[in-house]
Amino acid sequence: MSQVSPIDSVEHDSDVVFDNIGMTFGTASGVTHAVANVSGAIPEGKFVSVIGPSGCGKSTLLDMVGGLLKPTQGSVSINGESVTGPRRDTAMVFQEDSTLHWRTVLDNVAFGLEVKGLPKAERHERARRMIELVGLTGFEDHRPGQLSGGMKQRVAIARALAMEPRVLLMDEPFGALDQQTRQFIGRELLRIWEKTRNRVLFITHDIQEAVYLSDEVWVMSARPSVVKEVVTIDLPRPRPEGTHALPRFRELEDHLWALVKVEAEKTLGPGARLA
């Protein structure tokens, strides 16, 4: 197939490698080709964002990397090992609210560490640090029912970060946040990431956010989806607040916008206007 890009020698064992993966859902109402022939790699220490029209298979892609879904075609490998199920060195932030409503914020954030078997004192200490990072200090003993949607999402982010994963998979983690909180948490995430330099696969529909955070932005096509273009974000790091105003930032943003628009029109029909 022409879309298959052969895995070349630039890729390493430590990468997250997508080898021509695809996912087809069979349901009562027929088959959905959610993802078709996605190839590529997230190199060690790189931040990759994925953008694409709604329903193109971004969450499906993430679930396959996280080992929650088995691809119907091809395979994903991390550190040279094929992904057959959830891995201990991977953490996920889901698109929907995934907080445990009977646990306090502290115990929600510590949940992943608790499952890993960390002693209480240690996991609470780590959880407290993450709670501070996501700006929820003072809410440790609250339950999710007492939090806003954006706060719950920050709990989920803190839970994933607390696990100190080598591969961090985030599905529109800032979707429920307002613009200011979004930028604040985005900067915090970058700050943490500059220190850990783990591999991040980040799904968003916010083009600015993708450019600001990433080393590469993958633009997915409408279903059946492929990675239509990989845009390298060659902005220097660290990226201070003024980064958004750089001419190069604008250029990249415009380029991505044009790519996304074509795909969105395919999904929504010609003449559809983007919000």
């Binding site: 929907e96 995934s98 409503h101 608790e114």
Partner: protein, 266 residues
Amino acid sequence: MTVQEKTSSVQSQQRTPLVSRAALVRWVIILALVAVLEFTTRTGMISQSLMVPPSEILTRLASIVPTEQFGQDAARTLTTILVAFSIGLVLGIPLGVFLWRVPAAGRILEPFIVTGYAMPTLLFYPVLLALMGLNAGPIIVIAASMSLIPIALTTMVALNAIKPILHKLANSVSASPRQYYLKVLFPAATPLIFPGVKLGFIYAVIGTVAMEFILASQGVGFRAGFYYRELNTADMWAYIAVVIVLSVLVNSVLTWLEKRIRRDML
């Protein structure tokens, strides 16, 4: 923070008088009913062969409760209820989990279980008596099977109602099956299972007292039935009053527990 504390204290300030007012009205209704009963039985509007005045029930109770026989009857009835309910829990919850885990089994077995729910299980009582003899055994079997059904059904429904994202989360952090059940499934399902457990307890009480009433050698229900057949209305009502008090007590304990669980979980 402070604003939140303020609003919650305002809410609770508003809520408490409402709750106590409802409780007050409830007590007034109960006392009024008792007064009406007292009046209608004393004046003969209700025949004393059907119902004796509440004051007389009280004096009967005062002489019955201290006796050794009453102690034995009450102990027998309580242990029978507890054993039946425990069996209902121990079998009902795993059955509910099984029906949820194996949806095909759920689809096949559900009609049977619902039929079991609707069927007057007491019809099997004579058969069980013949098989097991006149002891607590047959009563436990019937009361336990009555108790098990609502527990199993609500367990299945509660587990089915858990958001798929929680399964995804447990899976993504590589939770072991044990962790999955103890840290995710049961806490998530408990508030929904609890009404079924409560119903299961009530069924255990009904099953036990009703079977004792029909035929037994001991127990509060047996004693009520015994005096009924002896046309001793006053003592029959004294034992009925014991059952009523028992049900109210158990129900309020369960309601209190349910509230606690809900508060901790929601």
